[in-house]
């Protein structure tokens, strides 16, 4: 029974909760039991709130028993990426500098989860301040890929991807600045969406790069992702960049799963060279499935994508260097006294704290950004990067005239092993080559599994990109592909992942 509850889809669980076949308390307990059994080896969580989650679950059960009409996902538990503020629960962003900080307020996303009646299981691991593609930059140690514990679960949202891939939670939230939802989904065989920029409120999301950050849903199926997307999205007056328009009909699109007559554009620059053979193979097969489902395939060219990575690594560090300035030991978080100074000034305390509290990758990007914004360099770096950004947006606009959605592999490779790229930042950055353009242009993107690479037996991600505010197209295409793949595979891909409880016992 327990095993079946933790592997069921959120949509299925929601239906059974609504029919009162199961209670939220028993479902939440099942998730917590699973965490107790496997998180010792997977390390998805930085903080588990068993008491809070169960209290919220019981409250929902009582309201349901009282006959109250509840939102669709009421009672379905969720894990929250530890970059979103949670009132009364620690929020560390994977950094030592925020160790012990308890936010006095909820992020808008968390407020919406609570309003939807979703118990919050805990806070998931991430690369420090969401800077990374592997969770190896978390100050609290990496999360592990349930498919192979020696491999990365993706990043920055490796805690959220592994928490659902290891069946500790049916749903999780993510944030995606350059691929932090989609790449972890790809390497763990799960689904994740980065909505249109402005589609989900950023209020309470600890900013990495304000103009690129976007929160979104993580789940095991396309429909579950859509259900969570609908809960998270919508206009928020607390976020000036939030779009004041109705949320695209993502759930409806996921249920219809109809691609007949749609034009699917293959991005020439994001296939072939540089992509692992098995990744390319599964991509080609997925495209064929879409053709079989009635879609038409065209090829598009996005020449400016070549410069996307360079532009991204100027814009992101620039904004991050300013966003992270607030961590100064004056009002919250860590405070370190400088060594060998009797009566330190505020500035000396700030410097000592930032030195001790930030990890190497964070320091690297702060230094890069500080340099790029400096007088005399601004035009050459930040200014040029903004121009490239404009050109990339133009590439998208032109391509979307020829195609309804664009597709590519989500990441060039399957999950790499721990340590493979940690000392080579450029190699690490290149892992995001296919996901970054969507953030620069603000358009929505999804990753869903397209199978296992034959050479290593690890999951491969298929990326779909749509025009801004056309998020529903991701779900139409994603659901259609998922249905075809599921019937080809005979069972969900994750069912072929290793048994973690055996590994847990061994550890």
């Amino acid at each position: 029974m327990t095993n079946e509850l933790i592997t069921a889809s959120a949509a299925d669980l929601a239906a059974r909760l609504a029919a009162r076949e199961i209670s939220s308390a028993e479902l939440t307990q099942a998730c917590l039991d699973r965490t107790a059994a496997v998180d010792g080896v997977v390390h998805s969580y930085l903080h588990v709130d068993a008491e809070g989650a169960l209290a919220a679950a019981r409250a929902i059960d009582e309201r349901r028993a009282a006959g109250e009409s509840l939102p669709t996902l009421a009672g379905v538990p969720i894990a929250v990426k530890d970059v979103m503020t949670t009132k009364g629960l620690p929020t560390t962003c994977g950094s030592k500098i925020l160790e012990g900080w308890i936010p006095p307020y909820d992020s808008t996303v968390v407020t919406r989860l609570k309003a939807a009646g979703m118990p919050i299981l805990g806070k998931t691991n991430l690369d420090e301040f969401a800077m990374g593609s592997s969770t190896e930059h978390s100050a609290y140690g990496p999360s592990r890929n349930p498919w192979d514990l020696d491999r990365i679960p993706g990043g920055s949202g490796g805690g959220s991807s592994s928490v659902i891939a290891s069946f500790q939670a049916p749903l999780a939230t993510g944030t995606d600045t350059g691929g932090s939802i989609r790449q972890p989904a790809a390497v763990t065989g799960t689904v994740g969406t980065k909505p249109t920029y402005g589609g989900v409120s950023r209020y309470g999301l600890v900013a990495l790069a304000s103009s690129l950050d976007q929160a979104g849903p993580c789940a095991r199926t396309v429909l579950d992702t859509a259900l969570l997307h609908e809960v998270m999205a919508g206009h928020d007056p607390m976020d000036s960049t939030s779009i004041d328009a109705p949320v695209p009909a993502v759930v409806e699109a996921a249920r219809r799963a109809d691609v007949s007559g749609m034009k699917i554009g293959i991005i020439r620059e994001l296939t072939g060279d540089g992509f692992q053979a098995g990744v390319q193979q599964r991509f080609d097969e997925a495209v064929q499935h879409l053709v079989d489902a009635g879609a038409e395939v065209v090829e598009v060219s996005c020449p400016s994508f070549t410069y996307a990575l360079a532009a991204y690594y100027l814009i992101l560090p620039s904004e991050a260097s300013s966003n992270l300035a607030k961590f100064d030991a004056m009002r919250y978080g860590m405070r370190v006294a400088p060594q060998g100074i009797d009566d330190p000034s505020a500035e000396q305390v700030m410097a000592a704290t930032r030195d001790a509290g930030f990890g190497d990758e964070v320091k690297r990007r702060i230094i890069l950004g500080t340099y790029a914004l400096s007088s005399g360099y601004y035009d050459a770096y930040y200014g040029s990067a903004q121009k490239v950004r404009r050109l990339i947006a133009d590439d998208f606009t032109r391509s979307f005239e020829a195609a309804d959605v664009l597709v590519s592999p989500t990441a060039p490779t399957t999950a790499f092993a721990f340590g493979d790229k940690i000392d080579d930042p450029m190699a690490m950055y290149l892992n995001d080559i296919a996901t970054i353009p969507a953030n620069l242009a603000g358009v929505p993107g999804m990753s869903l599994p397209s199978g296992l690479a034959p050479e290593d037996g690890l999951p491969v991600g298929f990326q779909i990109l749509a025009p801004a505010m056309q998020d529903q197209r991701l779900y139409a295409v994603g659901a259609a592909l998922e249905a075809r793949l599921l019937s080809a595979w005979g069972a969900p891909l994750l069912h072929s992942a290793p048994d973690l409880t055996a590994a847990g016992k061994g550890a």
Binding site: S107, M238, S240, S322, A325, K326, Y332, M350, T370, Y382
Partner: protein, 507 residues
Amino acid sequence: MSQATAEATLPFEEALAAYDPVLGLEVHVELGTNTKMFCGCATAFGAEPNSQVCPVCLGLPGALPVVNEKGVESAIRIGLALNCEIASWCRFARKNYFYPDMPKNFQTSQYDEPIAFNGHLDVELADGSTYRVEIERAHMEEDTGKSLHVGGSTGRIHGATHSLVDYNRAGIPLIEIVTKPMTGAGERAPEIAKAYVATLRDLLKALAVSDVKMEQGSMRCDVNLSLMPKDSTTFGIRSETKNVNSLRSVERAVRYEIGRHAAILSSGGKVTQETRHWHEDTGITTAGREKSDAEDYRYFPEPDLVPVAPSTEMVEALRATLPEPPAARRKRLQSAWGYSDLEMRDVVNAGLVDLIDETVTAGATPAGARKWWSGEIARRANDAGSDVPTYAASLAVTPAHVVELESLVTGGRLNDAMARQVWDGVLAGEGTPTAVADARGLELVQDTGALQAAVDKVIAANPDVAQKVRDGKVQAAGALIGQVMKEMKGQADAAAARQLILDTLVG
């Protein structure tokens, strides 16, 4: 550790014989909006420290700013009143630097895209001439918190054992108004500086956008000054004297800096580009932070805010709300009231324009209003170190009191001397003029019997004078009138007494 030693200065006339001053003024105005610039916190002055704060103005991780529309409207109205162009599209920018009282370690300000630019303000000088001050720009920004340095003797950071920070002020909307360099002012530079700040203060008051209280810091002035040799057109190196916070100080600071710069230049030295602290008590400036061009705020467009794009309709609607410019209003009122230039200047300098306007509107004569507000009460206000409007408000003396007092005179109940006694009573808090007159038994004697008796008595006692009057020397009656008034203890109408004397003696 106060080391406010005065530097060498050249006498003012000597300095101006050799150099031309170039003056620039930067004025910061706190807007009187009910809420802060980027959050909903209250802005009341003098509240309990850190009682008007929230995640946004404390710079807590995850919080985001939202622009206060009222703040933008005020900025546009100020820009229009200063004859500026209004940007149809502009952005906020981040000014990055670390300081404990700045919650985010960047100030949200405007950089190269101010909301208002290219304006002017005409300033009237004491000799009746007008100087046009060109306005470079007026831009929106947020105030910082306030540091209180504890344990030292001076309240400055040197010698303090610790500092306290009050963030109530953090995020209060500010408008910074920057002049273009003012040249050709010569020896009038100090007067022009003072007159500009005074004119600006009146204008902002008339706009009702700020309470413009220099002593409370809601209007703060920085004085930029440089000298160039008389035959040169190349600007010298400037000093920036911060927080010159009274009209008198503005004038003194300009005068002092002219003398200081001249002393340095005439001895072959080089002025240091730096900020200077103004010392109100000693009337000197001392060196602050050295400000080289290397100081780098790493400005970049604020990605958390959308651009401000006021429509033409909005700007025109705001233009329609502008009050009559103070200078034009003064001209109109002077002509309506029939005051001489000298009378009007006295009234303006005493800050009585509004009070007299209200009093005349309430029914008093312009002459009466001027007489009562600039007499005894002005003397007392001056003794109390206050101005008449503030002093009158503290005594609860109103324009209605003046109207009532005047009507008691014109109605024949009081003569002028009695009216003065009544006004003293009103200022002493004894009640309305009627109540004071009643309580003090002040009333002209209207009973002709008593007056006739007094006249007869005086004539009998002064047969020589009486004979002169009978002989046609009417002016001799004056001596008799004085005695009659004395006989009546002042409570007679002198005109009535005169008539009665003439009637009795001449028939």
